[in-house]
């Protein structure tokens, strides 16, 4: 009997499921899928803010133009360096902080609170605060450094320093993200292997190298990937602190796309670059999902 009814029951279940999910799907399609489709369309037309019509289909010319432009190449290089520097440094600092936090017995919540404060601040505000602190003549940082005899540094005005200044500010802002995620990972590790390793005579470094690091591998992979994806999209800090400058020293890809669209008014080419960036982010996201599934 049940075999007779099973298909219709299953079909009814499925229909009910679709009905329940439909509103969410419609909303998502309207606010995500539609804009993406529009951007994709825009990238294939000669669409500028001077001439806002889809009247001339140019195929992949926008992509070709973007890929052959030296500015785009520069912003790709800058973005890559920025992402590597930011993610690597934040990971190392974050891991050290996480390892220290796991040994803290009292007042752990206070440390968490202090750590989380930068994360809670809006990136625009972070940029504004640091722009003031790092002001070459009026900023407190140079004043303090002056106290110990360090000459004034033009933090954001010099091509060589501006890149690293933005990196440092990003680290200040985001390092606790790493620390918090890695702390959570560390506290979820089983305690028994540590006891066993101690009984077998492993020292602190050996325990870290042979037990903690391998056991943390999945957490580390996920943390790195999440941070990587967000770092690629960094925009606010650049907009507030350097506007991509001096010259093109901090011209990250998302800021360059913004400039192409709203300074050079070439929406078509900007859309093409945005699509390229989206492909990169999607590939990284898929990698993240695969890592997470492998963990489960």
């Amino acid at each position: 009997m049940s075999a007779l009814f099973a298909p219709t029951l299953a079909a009814r279940d499925r229909r009910f499921g679709y009905a329940m999910a439909a509103p969410a799907i419609v909303v998502l399609a309207a606010i995500i899928l539609a804009p993406v489709a529009l951007a994709l369309a825009t990238s294939l037309f000669d669409y500028t803010l001077m001439n806002m019509t889809f009247d001339r289909f140019i195929g992949f010319d926008n992509f070709v133009a973007a890929l052959s432009s030296s500015e785009f190449a520069n912003s790709m290089v800058v973005t890559t360096l920025f992402v590597i520097a930011v993610v690597a440094l934040e990971f190392v600092i974050g891991f050290v902080v996480a390892l220290m936090l796991t040994t803290v017995k009292r007042g752990k919540n206070i440390y968490y609170l202090i750590l989380l404060i930068p994360l809670l601040i809006n990136p625009v505000v972070v940029g504004l605060i640091w722009r003031m602190l790092l002001h070459p003549t009026l900023g407190i940082v140079n004043w303090l450094l002056g106290g110990i005899g360090v000459p004034d540094i033009d933090w954001l005005g010099h091509p060589g320093t501006a890149f690293w200044t933005v990196v440092l500010v990003d680290i200040w802002h985001q390092v606790s993200f790493m620390a918090v995620l890695l702390t959570a990972g560390l506290s979820a590790l089983p305690t028994e292997p540590y006891e066993a390793a101690r009984a077998e005579g492993a020292g602190t470094l050996q325990t870290f190298w042979y037990i903690t690091l391998p056991l943390m591998k999945p957490v580390i992979a996920v943390t790195l990937l999440i941070r990587l994806i967000f770092a690629i999209k960094t925009y606010d800090l650049i907009y507030i602190m350097t506007r991509g400058g001096p010259g093109d020293a901090t011209d990250l890809i998302s800021y360059y796309i913004y400039r192409s669209a709203f300074a050079r008014l070439n929406l078509g080419e900007a859309a093409a670059m945005a699509i390229l960036l989206m492909v990169i982010v999607i590939v990284l996201t898929l990698a993240l999902f695969r890592t997470m599934r492998a963990r489960g």
Binding site: P190, P193, A199, E200, L215
Partner: protein, 376 residues
């Protein structure tokens, strides 16, 4: 091999909790010592202090005559096997086994040789490439044991290594551990809450309660002469019957024990030992196997049957002796039959009884006559 001495070893925690209270214990070279007690009695903490995983609050620990209180676990050269096995989940069996050797910078070829040898001894050669998650409980157990064996340490500390196994596997592993001990002749300290495991494995048993050592001795001695009510009530299942009683004088200058409505004459051999108990209340201890049905030659006690449990090789009768509230059990022959409510007359083998002081809980010393067949 190791000769381990605990001298007033104490573990106390901030807040005034004393987990282990001045434990004196000597484990001889090559001995299999079992630490037995209920959970929370301090047996595991004692073991962990010997291993060096817990600090010793006061007292001294000696291994082969050397005081090792301040020594790192690695310098004590003892291997510990944990209840939950504590295998390294990210390493395969071979690497799990070899890790301790690698830490000691043993050359890889030598590690490989010893891992193979240990795996062969434990019958886990086929599992060397697997991860712990791919092993059954019994296999993990073997790997944990192998990890201890491969190091060839001075002694082994086993922290309830069998308690996560199912009953059948536990029996098998118990026998294997005994065999292994005989083969290696190593010093082993085995912690368990399972009195059967303790009785069958230990060359000597150390029974602990409330952080203190209550009794130490070979299993048969501890079984025959429990030092206190705690030991009497803890060993064996069903444990010794402990009945409120009083020692009274009897006709002809002898002594007798009055239990409820029954008066049982004490054997001549015990008169001198128990003379001090005359006219005082005591706790009478009788093992269930020292109560016999149809034994007219023995002093009789009448019990009202509450339950009759058929357990296969024998029948356990649970009943209330006349004039008492306390229940007693008797191990009777498998042919015994009774209905709840039946009044049954049982013979008491008085040569096997014990008297305990209800105030101190300690046994009143008496001569040990050994086990002998009772007279029916």
């Amino acid at each position: 091999m190791a000769h381990i001495v605990l001298d007033k070893v104490t573990k106390s925690y901030a807040g005034g909790v004393t987990a282990v209270d001045a434990v004196d214990l000597e484990i001889r070279d090559g001995e299999l010592m079992v630490l037995l007690g209920p959970s929370g009695c301090g047996k595991s903490t004692t073991l962990r202090m010997i291993a060096g995983l817990e600090t010793i609050s006061s007292g001294d620990l000696y291994i082969d005559g050397e005081r090792v209180n301040e020594k790192d676990p690695r310098d004590r050269d003892l291997a510990i096997v944990f209840q939950n096995y504590a295998l390294y989940p990210h390493m395969n069996v071979a690497r799990n086994l070899g890790f301790g050797l690698k830490l000691r910078r043993v050359p890889p070829a030598e590690i490989e040789r010893r891992v193979q040898e240990t795996a062969r001894m434990l019958g886990i050669e086929a599992l060397l490439k697997r991860r712990p998650a791919q092993l059954s409980g019994g296999q993990r157990q073997r790997v944990a044991l192998g990890r201890a064996l491969v190091r060839q340490p001075r002694g082994f500390l086993l922290d309830e290594p069998l308690s996560n196994l199912d009953a059948q596997l536990r029996t098998t592993m118990r026998l294997e551990l005994i065999k292994l001990h005989r083969q290696l002749g190593a010093t082993i300290i085995h912690v368990t809450h399972d009195q059967l495991e303790a009785m069958t494995m230990g060359e000597r048993i150390c029974i602990m309660d409330g952080g203190k050592v209550v009794q130490v001795g070979p299993p048969a001695d501890v079984y025959r002469n429990p030092a206190s009510l705690f030991v009497a009530g803890f060993l064996a299942s069903p444990p010794m019957n402990l009945l409120p009683a009083a020692v009274v004088g009897s006709d002809g200058g002898g002594l007798a024990v009055r239990v409820g409505a029954t008066t049982l004459p004490l054997p001549e051999e015990y008169l001198q030992a128990y003379a001090g108990c005359r006219d005082r209340s005591v706790v009478l201890g009788v093992r269930p196997e020292d109560l016999h049905e149809a034994a007219p030659a023995l002093p009789q006690i009448t019990v009202a049957a509450n339950a009759v449990e058929m357990v296969g090789p024998e029948v356990i009768l649970v009943g209330t002796p006349e004039g008492l509230e306390t229940e007693a059990s008797a191990r009777l022959s498998r042919a015994f039959r009774a209905e709840p409510g039946d009044r049954i007359s049982l013979g008491v083998d008085m040569r096997q009884i014990h008297l305990f002081d209800p105030a101190t809980g300690l046994a009143v010393p008496r001569p040990d006559l050994g086990f002998e067949p009772h007279r029916r």
